[in-house]
């Protein structure tokens, strides 16, 4: 392993009695996209704020590009790019005026400014729109401009907070392509997200955060494999307990079957090693045992199932509860 681009060790931060970050260890390698996933209140925002030097941890250490974030925050700020989840470009300014503002804030040399602005515009495919007021931009264009503003100083690592939140499908795909383009140019990306499809599509590795702790870190494929493999769901026809048990005995004899389970609705769940020939061979085994097959489906576990396993709740369910709790809290205030 080379030197980590982002590293935290036993990071902790409390707000009052609540441990928002409760011993987080993270390691992000050069050139990878790491996704930080977790429900609201899991500690994603607090962890990110510590890394981008906006919050001081109570204990533990955090470094970006080998620089300690608490003792040398200015150096860290110079070298990271940060794009918040809100649309932040000033709508009363043109695209160019926004970009020039960020070039000045990040101390981009004047001689290089215009070239870097042109490069950033090209990277997010906004050429030709830079002279227009941002007020006239679509949400997708504003997000792209926000990303461009965060790249002018050529950061080695970029923090993206919910980059495709609230965007339409086309803009979302465009933003994802730009993020992958960043990675291709050697930039390390730290991605905070609530979107399972976004995490799956972009991330080399995913860290799942729950109640201030990292509960799982791995590639999306490994995380899903950890669930016990792909699932073949077979419903016998006619259906009955006798058919189910004969089917069960037949498929268990197949070499690629890991385990089986009745789903309680007349179907048998057959957990298998990933296998292209699983379906025909399950059908053959059923026929050989004299069981008719009414319906059959093959599914691969979704990241949502991984989330379910590690945090004990469906992802969108957690989100809904968190939103309801936040709304209730607001009403009480």
């Amino acid at each position: 392993m080379g030197p980590a681009v982002i590293e935290t060790k036993d990071l902790r931060k409390k707000f009052g009695d609540v441990a928002a970050v409760d011993g987080v260890d993270l390691r992000v390698e050069k050139g990878e996209i790491l996704g930080l996933l977790g429900p609201n209140g899991a500690g994603k925002t607090t962890t990110t704020k510590i890394l981008i030097t906006l919050l001081r941890p109570d204990s533990g250490s955090a470094s970006v590009l080998g620089i300690d974030v608490t003792s040398r925050p200015d150096e860290v700020r110079r070298r990271l790019g940060y794009v918040p989840q809100e649309l932040t470009a000033d709508v009363y300014l043109t695209g160019t005026e926004n970009l020039r503002l960020f070039a000045a804030l990040y101390g981009v040399p004047p001689a290089e400014r215009d070239r870097r602005i042109a490069d950033a515009l090209a990277l997010v495919a906004l050429e030709g729109h830079e002279g227009k007021l941002v007020r006239t931009y679509s949400g997708g264009m504003r997000k792209k401009l926000d990303i461009a503003c965060g790249l002018l100083h050529r950061p080695d690592v970029v923090f993206l907070d919910e980059p495709s939140l609230g965007l339409d499908v086309a803009s979302r795909r465009a933003v994802w392509d730009h993020v992958l383009g960043l990675k291709a140019s050697g930039v390390t990306v730290f991605l905070c997200t609530n979107g399972m499809d976004e995490a799956e599509r972009l991330c080399d590795r995913i860290a799942i955060l729950d109640r201030g702790k990292v509960v799982a870190t791995d590639t999306p494929a490994e995380l899903k494999r950890g669930l016990g493999g792909d699932v073949v769901t077979v419903t016998p026809e006619p259906s009955g307990d006798g058919e189910l048990s004969r089917l069960d005995a037949a498929v268990r004899a197949l070499p690629f079957v890991k385990s089986t389970k009745a789903d309680g609705n007349g179907a048998l769940l057959v957990y298998v090693e990933r296998n292209e020939t699983a379906l025909p061979r399950v059908i053959d085994a059923a026929r050989a045992a004299g069981v008719g097959v009414g319906s059959l489906s093959y599914s691969q576990p979704h990241l949502d199932d991984v989330f379910l396993k590690h945090t004990g709740a469906r992802f969108d369910e957690v989100e809904r509860k968190a939103a309801a709790a936040a709304a209730a809290k607001k009403r009480r205030r």
Binding site: T53, P84, T88, Y92, E97, A104, L105
Partner: protein, 252 residues
């Protein structure tokens, strides 16, 4: 270009995109001057006998304008905070002071433009001339900026500390008119009951008004000027200390 200049340029760029906003902001004090001057035309004011009311009012309107601009100074930052721009600024390698300095510079430029407009039109339309002439006008601009310094920092500290713009506007709205009435801006302190006189003396608007009024209607009264400027500077020190303490918590 320094961060302060860049952030100031951003505010100025916005001005040219919001011509209506600028027109209303700049002309607001003229409306005050016109309305108050006519409202109180026939009043005789102890301590200012023989002075036409528009001339008397000029200093009050200037001080009130400085208050309005400075206390509103935190509003753009408040909105930057709510839409995430401020987080972005704080993650950038800029001196924290540039956020405050750029906003103070912006508020001061607005105040200078308004004071020039009020004094110019006050002289032309209402005949409210400044006794001390152009050097007096320069002194008035300096006093206005000094008066605005502490108040702007206080407003920025409020913007950083409060939960949202609702609370901010509630506080500013609550404080605005009482601050005006509890000051020498509209009438001399001599006309007030003792408790109001006392409260008004604790209001920096009174001291700003007194200093500017002496320059407008009487001339170079060094005693009055130094006392008022001293009190304003003392308020600045207190407000800066309070404000910077609140800001340091947010700008770690």
């Amino acid at each position: 270009m320094s961060a302060t200049t860049a952030l100031l340029a951003r505010r100025l760029h916005r001005l040219k995109r919001e011509p209506f906003n600028v027109t209303f902001t700049l002309s607001q004090p003229l409306i005050w001057l016109l309305l108050y001057s006519n409202l109180m035309r026939k009043a005789t004011l102890p301590g200012a006998e023989g002075v036409p009311y528009p001339t008397f009012m000029l200093a009050g309107v200037i001080a009130f304008t400085v208050f309005g601009n400075s206390l509103a100074g935190g509003i753009p930052v408040l909105f930057d905070k709510e839409n995430g721009f401020l987080t972005r600024l704080l993650a950038a390698p800029i001196p924290r002071s540039s956020i405050l300095l750029s906003q103070f510079a912006y508020v001061s430029m607005l105040t200078v433009a308004q004071v020039l407009l009020i004094t110019g039109l006050g002289a032309l339309v209402l005949g409210a001339r400044i006794e001390t002439g152009v050097p007096g006008l320069v002194a008035i601009l300096a006093i206005s900026t000094l008066l605005g310094l502490g108040l702007t920092v206080l407003s920025l500290a409020l913007a950083f500390s409060l939960h949202g713009h609702g609370e901010f506007f509630a506080i500013i709205g609550f404080a605005g008119l009482p601050l005006l009435f509890l000051s020498s801006a509209l009438v001399p302190l001599e006309t007030m009951p003792d408790w109001m006189k006392f409260a008004a003396w604790l209001n920096p608007m009174t001291h700003g008004t007194n200093a500017i009024r002496s320059l407008v209607i009487r001339g170079w009264e060094w005693g009055t000027l130094l006392l008022s400027i001293g009190v304003i500077a003392a308020f600045d020190v207190v407000f800066l200390a309070l404000g910077l303490r609140a800001l340091r918590k947010r700008l770690a």
